[in-house]
């Protein structure tokens, strides 16, 4: 009797790429829900826009390459990129900017490098960075969270704003937009205000900005879920958050009136989203155990540096992209000590 042959092992685990991606998307849901709660329906419209664009772009690229687009679309990596980009965008960004950012992420940052697994840069962050550099005004026009007594944007208003540019409020954009806590802090500090003064602003909550702190907390929850499921390792989030807390802590101890507290850094901007969902993108991160510690720690430091002294209010995207570039080098110098190698040759 004859049999088909195959290479060992002949068993395989239940894991697959689709499942990994789906779990990350699932973990993102609480954060998305929180965003929707505080910023209204624009968040959901954005999500739909990026998702649709991502799928269409992947389909297009695969077709042009003469390959079957189905396995690529169904591995969900493109959709995950779309979601990550969507949660980073201001809720009422004009639709064509959203489309450009997503298309750039999928076509240029991902597929042009060879698709999933070959992209040196985190596609979502590449798309975000492109938009931030190209359309800085629109990209920093965030809504005021609804908890501040602001206006809750309905689906219809969101649609009108995104596709027709009609402000969701009769009194125009100014009535609904507000600075993000990081932005606010930045401007106020540049006006020589003390942090204790700045924090009296109603914008401020207990940990970070009102609303924002809750969104971050839900990201944290999603991140813990991913850790529990073993989808991500602890090294990158722990080292990134650890180094950010440490650096922020040092400056805060030196002068708490001009340096916000480490906790504020933790719960503001994209810190927690970045630590659990973006820096941990396996394709573009360092892959050795020690390398991941270094990689994460350096992202944490960069986030602080760019936030404090750089030209942009938030820094997670740029820090991650910068460290993406360094990842291969880090990997090269942090190979684990192989079983049975002499102890003095290398630490583990």
């Amino acid at each position: 009797m004859e049999f088909p042959v195959a290479s060992s092992p002949h068993l395989s685990g239940q894991n697959n790429v689709q499942r990994v991606m789906a779990q990350v998307m699932l973990a993102l849901v609480p954060g998305i829900a929180a965003l929707w709660w505080y910023f209204g329906w624009g968040v959901i419209v954005n999500l739909g826009l990026t998702s649709l664009t991502a799928v269409v772009c992947e389909w297009l690229v695969m077709r042009l390459r003469g390959r079957d687009p189905r396995p690529v679309i169904t591995d969900l990596s493109g959709l995950l990129t779309a979601w990550l980009l969507a949660v980073a965008l201001p809720p009422l960004l004009p639709w064509w900017q959203t489309v450009i950012g997503t298309a750039f992420a999928i076509i240029i940052a991902k597929q042009l490098f060879g698709g999933l697994g070959y992209n040196p840069f985190n596609p979502a962050m590449a798309g975000y960075a492109l938009l931030l550099v190209s359309f800085p005004a629109d990209m920093t026009r965030w809504l005021e969270p609804s908890v501040l007594g602001g206006h809750a944007v309905s689906l219809n208003e969101a649609w009108q704003a995104i596709f027709s540019g009609i402000p969701p409020h009769p009194q125009g954009w100014d009535a609904v937009t507000g600075a993000t806590p990081l932005d606010h802090l930045r401007t106020e500090l540049s006006r020589d205000h003390m942090i204790s003064e700045i924090q009296r602003d109603p914008l401020w909550g207990n940990l970070g900005g009102k609303g924002w702190e809750w969104i971050s907390s839900w990201y944290l929850l999603g991140g813990l879920f991913l850790l529990w499921r073993g989808v991500i390792g602890w090294r990158i989030p722990v080292s990134m958050l650890g180094s950010l807390l440490a650096v922020a802590g040092i400056f805060w101890l030196i002068d708490p009136e001009i340096h916000p507290s480490p906790v504020f850094h933790l719960f503001s901007g994209a810190t927690l989203l970045g630590a659990f969902f973006i820096a941990t993108d396996p394709v573009t991160a360092s892959t050795t155990p020690r390398g991941q510690l270094i990689y994460g720690a350096l992202i944490g430091v960069l986030v602080y540096v760019i936030r404090t002294w750089g030209g942009y209010p938030d820094a997670v995207a740029f820090s991650v992209l910068l460290m993406n570039m360094a990842a291969p080098t880090i990997d090269h110098y942090t190979q684990p000590r192989v079983f049975g190698a002499r102890e003095d040759a290398d630490g583990r």
Partner: protein
Amino acid sequence: MAADLAPPVWDFHGGLHIPDCKALSADRPIIEATLPSRLQLALQQHIGKPAEALVKPGDPVLKGQLIARASDYVSANLHAPTSGRVVEIAEMPIAHPSGLSAPCIVIEPDGEERWAELPAPITNWAETDPAELRERLRWAGIVGLGGAVFPTSVKTNVTGRQVDTLIINAAECEPYITCDDRLLREQAGEVLEGARILRHIVGASRILVGIEDNKPEAIASLREALSGDDDGIEIRVVPTKYPSGGEKQLIYLLTGVEVPSQGLPLDIGMVCQNVATAASVADAVLRGRPLISRIVTITGQGVSRPGNLRALIGTPVSELIAQCGGYTPQVHKLIMGGPMMGFALHSDAVPMAKGSNCFIAATAEEAPDPPPAKPCIRCGECVKVCPAYLLPQQLYWYARARNFDQTQDHNLFDCIECGCCAYVCPSHIPLVHYYRFAKTEIWASERERQKAEHARRRHEFREARLKRLEAERKARLRKKKEALEKKSTSAADDPKKAAIEAAMKRVAAKKAAQQGNAAPPPREGDD
């Protein structure tokens, strides 16, 4: 008992907890396989050089008769598993991943089971010189029966090395396989006796028997066989985790010492032997019997009655399966060895060999065809499970790009091909396949390099020799001419001319000498 005080176990990094599927065959006692209609014995059952056939077609053979002799130090004898007649010596398909053929001796049994004259038992082995015992193992054609098939007489030759521990590998960590489990349940005493003999041969002071905790009956049987007089033998139960039976992993589990990278257990004063090997050592020494049969597990959902057989080496796999009730309709793949490291056979018309511990007739659920591979997402799952602390994803990356230098920098040759990485890979990349490919390519190019080096050296030698001969010929010619000229010009003695000629002669001689010396190129390489 001391062993119950839970001696320390050092957990190794990585590994997998996978369903062991041993229940299919673990409770089936070993039964003697019936005599097959023909036996096909490959001249190479072992690592090393193939044996040299001592018989020719038509020769009658007796059970236990030497039919092929070890052709080198690393090689192994081969004996007729039963009495009968040699019917053929030819290249035929064997159980090998390549599906290639190899020279085999085919014996047609006569059913009489007449034994050849066997060497005398060595009952006083404890007073016998280890070299003599090793000679016995060499005669008996014993090789590592755990699957490595390295000649045991070579592995136990520890001349000039200090050995303190003999490790007996009873872990049997691969799913499905139960032949060692059964052997221990039924003949633990034999295994321990073999272990004592091996300990004497290598001069170790203690024996550690490592066994996974999923085999309580075998553990009990071992403890009972030990019954108090544990003369330096310790039974160490290790947690069930694949690949605890890997030599380096087991040694680490039991002693906390790492075998040096690309080194041998001997480098840290240890020798490791499988339980079935130990039993065959006892057989060879205490009864003078060569290795002509072994216990093999026939299992999987694709066979009707899974079980454990003691079968003659050379029995066709199809006959083993037939004795277990034949295939079920769901059979999909036939695997020799375990499902993690074994290889899929193309056909069952091949013989079992000394290293065949298990044949799995697997259904499509048991050994599914892998889905198409996706790109590596660098998730690092493979890093988490690699017991060798490698970076499988980087190895894959470089192997795929045929960047073999980098694969070696990433310690490709420390990969034990356990398959843990491929098992967990969410992209279903046949990682081990890539590593084997890279290793093969590196070996091939190494051989090429050595061959080229050889050829270059031979060429240079030849060139130099030709040059030297040519120079010598010229010199001779010149001499002759000079002698002639001298004769003709001796009358008109021209001192000036003579001086010039002498000078020319000197230069020519010098030149010739130089060319002669310039012959051997500087030696490089290590061959």
